[in-house]
């Protein structure tokens, strides 16, 4: 920036120097035209200055012009405007200059020409001729009088020569008469008082003329004295003895007039001669001045245009910067005129834009932070939250939703939900229910959905609401759902536990008096009765006692269900335990075949051995009871270690070939008092389920395809496996926490 300013300043100084040089040169030119003494000394300097000025200006012009052309071609902003301004200024400067130049040239030429007039020239010519004729007449007269003097003196005695000479000089009016002998020797001379000193020797041209035997007559160009010379010889001698030269003055008036004519004619001729050179010189000077003015004007046009266009170029650059998103551009405000106002307005605008953008980004950051918070909350939520677009594409889903529905929905944003659900039984059922509601146009709905999966029933409490959109279309839906399977189970368990406790308490109390009363009746009246009556009493009391015993068993079972002693985890061999239990039942010889397949290499299991034994007992007893009315009853017990959903489990399957579960009651087989057997409290499977769940295991009941029921249990094999299962299902964790 600074370097550029220095460069620009140096350009300006350089150009100003050029213009200054030119002005000085012009001034000197005008001065030296008047003062000729300095001309030669200054001429070269002036010339050099002029040339330098012109060169500097020309170089600048060429530079500026090429730059302008380059800018114009590369579409630099403002170049067109600059070109137009330069053109305008040049036009404005050049036209008047050319007009002035043309008229000046015309004026000078005409002005110089008017000095010369044909009539004046002719008049002067005639005056000269007239003067010449007048003088020539005198010259002829003086020549003839000289010749007469020469002849007369030839007759004169040599001794009287000087006397005669003086007399004749006075007679003829000559100023001086001299007689030269051979070798230019003066023989005699006579002069009037006006001429002083000795007469000068004969001039060469006089001698030349004399040698050719011709008289000599000439007019002195300065004094207009007439000089005559003739040969002089004494009478009787053949050889001329010398030369006689006479000077005749003209009258003062004539001399003055002759001089005037001579001078006027000379001056006029000089002017005529000077006419051409003068014209050329003036034209040349004018042309130089014109060139300099023109170049200066054009250069000025460039400078001015640059000045004018610079702020506009700044504005264009600034506008571009703003368009590219740079709002921090500040333009320098050079002037206080309208352009300055425009630029300061531009600066205000960019400042406001920058402020607005800062605020926008600030609020965006705030929104972003809120969103992040929300995401964190959603992720931590055990409730599944699934946001859908109106066309059922997934907008967002939290981690819990994926965990509940068994699909990782979190990373499936933008995908079509029914497509994601394909092959995912839980999600498929969920989507089916949701689609029924959504296609019916229900915007707000709430439903408890029961999903059947591999690990058993899942009960979801589901609520859907529509996101606000425009008038016709919903922007999307949010479905919030909770896995309330465990909650429901807990509620049910609690209710049944309470019922069982009360029943046990309320029913057990009167049973003993009933039994005792019946036994007392029997003891007191059996012997005193007739045999027929005694038989009746015996049967009746027997029945009462028997039924009371049964009821006691039932009440005990209830109280077992209600009571939940603390779980005691220990390590034991599952294979050994299962053999013990099965052997016990085999020993009863109930006519039922029990087939046990157990893997002896199974690892040791970490569990409450009492509870697991109870599970096995209950299951086998349950199967035994189911087979009471069946011939060839058979129970299959299958125990093995396996891996289920990445967790090490012990899998226990107890199947029978009895009548199986009633179709439609499969969902409720684990609820208390649900039984298909004539005997049984209906608590067996409920207790099993409770025990299994206490071990964070899973249980399911099914009917075999060839008849009979099968109960499958999966128990985590060790504590780590249990933790893994808990971690995977938020509902279980809650339940476990509750229990802890």
């Amino acid at each position: 920036m600074v370097a550029r300013a220095i460069k620009r300043a140096s350009y300006t100084i350089f150009a100003a120097t050029g213009v200054g040089l030119v002005l000085v040169a012009l001034f000197l030119l005008s001065r030296t035209a008047q003062n000729s003494a300095d001309f030669d000394r200054l001429h070269n300097v002036i010339l050099a200055i002029n040339i330098a000025g012109v060169l500097v200006l020309f170089a600048f012009l060429v530079g500026n012009l090429s730059r302008l052309l380059r800018e114009y071609r590369t579409h630099v902003p403002g170049a067109k405007l600059k070109a137009r301004i330069v053109g305008m200024f040049v036009g404005l400067a050049v036209l008047p200059l050319l007009v002035v130049f043309y008229f000046s040239i015309q004026f000078i030429n005409r002005g110089i020409d008017t000095w010369f007039n044909v009539e004046v020239e002719e008049g002067l010519e005639n005056a000269l001729r007239l003067s010449r004729a007048a003088l020539e007449m005198q010259m002829r007269q003086h020549l003839s009088s000289t010749q007469q003097i020469s002849q007369r003196l030839g007759d004169v005695n040599e001794r009287q020569l000087i006397f005669e000479l003086s007399m004749m000089r006075r007679e003829s009016g000559a100023a001086e008469i001299t007689i030269y002998g051979s070798n230019n020797r003066i023989l005699a001379t006579s002069s009037d008082s006006s001429s002083a000193g000795l007469p000068r020797p004969l001039a060469e041209e006089v001698l030349l003329q004399m040698q050719q035997n011709r008289p000599y007559v000439a007019l002195d160009p300065e004094s207009y004295e007439i000089r005559t010379a003739v040969l002089f010889s004494y009478r009787g001698r053949a050889e001329p003895s010398g030369v006689l030269q006479a000077h005749f003055p003209v009258t003062e008036r004539l001399a003055r007039m002759a001089n005037s004519v001579d001078t006027s004619y000379t001056e006029y001729q000089q002017l005529v001669f000077l006419r051409g050179p003068l014209k050329s010189t003036f034209t040349l000077t004018l042309t130089v001045v014109l060139m300099l003015s023109l170049l200066s004007a054009i250069y000025g046009a460039f400078v001015l245009s640059r000045r004018l266009v610079a702020p506009i170029q700044d504005l264009v650059a600034g506008t571009r910067a703003v368009a590219e998103g740079d709002f921090d551009t500040r333009l320098p405000t050079p002037t206080r005129d309208e352009i300055g106002f425009l630029i300061s307005s531009f600066n205000d605008m960019t400042q406001r834009l920058a402020t607005a953008r800062r605020e926008a980004s600030l609020s965006q950051a705030l929104v972003e932070a809120e969103r992040t918070n929300l995401e964190v909350i959603l992720a931590r939520l055990s409730t599944g939250v699934l946001a859908l677009e109106s066309d059922l594409r997934i907008r967002t889903a939290n981690q819990a939703s994926g965990a509940i529905l068994g699909v990782d929905l979190e990373n499936r944003a933008e995908e079509f939900l029914p497509d994601v659900a394909k092959g995912q039984p839980l999600l498929e059922q969920f989507v089916d229910v949701a689609q029924v509601h959504l296609s019916a146009g229900e915007t707000e709905w709430r439903e408890q959905i029961v999903l059947r999966g591999e690990v058993g029933r899942r009960v979801l409490s589901c609520a859907c609401t529509t996101l606000p959109g425009d008038e016709k279309h919903a922007a999307g839906y949010v479905i919030v759902f909770d896995d309330i399977t465990a909650l429901l189970q807990a509620q049910r368990d609690a209710a049944w536990g309470e019922v069982a406790r009360r029943l046990a308490h309320e029913i057990k109390n009167p049973l003993t008096p009933i039994q005792l009363s019946a036994e007392r009746l029997r003891r007191k009246y059996l012997d005193s009765m007739s045999e027929e009556d005694a038989q009746i009493l015996d049967r009746a009391t027997h029945t009462i006692v028997q039924q009371v015993e049964a009821m006691k068993d039932m009440v005990n079972a209830f109280s077992d269900y209600a009571r939940a002693p603390d779980i005691e985890i220990g390590v034991f061999d599952m294979d050994k335990l299962v053999h013990e239990v099965v052997d016990l039942y085999r020993a009863q010889e109930s006519g039922i075949e029990i087939v046990l397949t157990s893997d002896p290499t199974m690892p040791m299991i970490e569990a409450d051995i009492g509870r697991v034994r109870q599970i096995l007992h209950n299951l086998i007893r349950n199967a035994t009871e189911a087979l009471e009315n069946t011939n060839d009853g058979r129970i299959d017990v299958h125990v093995c270690a396996a891996e289920f959903e990445g967790v090490d489990v012990v899998q226990i399957k107890v199947g029978d070939n009895g009548p199986g579960f009633r179709e439609g009651s499969l969902n409720q087989v684990f609820d208390p008092y649900v039984t298909t057997k004539p005997k049984g409290t209906g608590l067996g499977l409920a207790i099993v389920k409770k025990l299994v769940e206490e071990h964070v295991g899973s249980i399911r009941a099914d009917n075999n395809t060839d008849g009979g029921a099968v109960i499958s249990i999966r128990l985590p094999i060790h504590e780590a496996a249990r933790e893994a299962v808990i971690a995977r299902s938020p509902g279980r964790a809650d339940k476990r926490r509750e229990r802890a």
Binding site: F39, D262, Y265, P277
Partner: protein
């Protein structure tokens, strides 16, 4: 006009030049051919006086140093044509002497003949130094008005100047 009507360039040339020591004073004898250009002749016949200058330089020869200008002498003559008398005046501007001639030829002839012109007193020169002396003739345009000189500056016809004619001063 005695000289040709066709355009000619004109030239000045020193034909011969020498110095003699007569009576302790070095005198110059020289023959110079002066031929005027047509342009100069036109000016002369229009009454414009021409100044012809003879430049004489005396240079001390130094063996180990730049030669030294010991003396300079400029002899200026004015040549003028008077239309009334139709004569050419030759005026010695240094001495003021003047002479008139019927023809340009005789005037230029007179101008180009220098005889016994005293140059310098030998006593003024250093006794044991040797001197070179050189002469040239040129048309001087300094007395003309500026517009004319501006023009003459560019015209070859007005740049009449002989080469330097140089010889050793005999002592």
């Amino acid at each position: 006009m005695a000289q040709d009507e066709i355009e000619r360039v004109g030239y000045f040339e020193i034909r011969s030049a020498s110095t003699r020591l007569t009576g302790g004073v070095h005198t110059l004898d020289a023959r110079i051919q002066l031929v005027l250009s047509s342009e100069a002749l036109r000016a002369l016949s229009s009454g414009v006086p021409l100044t012809i200058e003879l430049q004489l330089e005396l240079i001390r020869v130094r063996r180990f140093y730049w030669d030294d200008d010991a003396a300079e002498l400029a002899l200026r003559y004015e040549l003028e044509y008077r239309p009334l008398s139709q004569r050419y005046i030759v005026r010695n501007l240094n001495s003021g002497d003047q002479d008139s001639f019927a023809t340009l030829y005789s005037a230029l002839n007179n101008l180009g003949r220098v005889q016994g012109l005293p140059v310098i007193d030998d006593a003024l020169l250093e006794a044991d130094s040797s001197y070179r002396i050189r002469l040239r003739a040129m048309l001087n345009t300094q007395q003309y008005p500026a517009p004319l000189r501006l023009l003459f500056f560019w015209r070859d016809e007005w740049q009449l100047q002989s080469e330097w004619f140089e010889w050793l001063l005999e002592r």
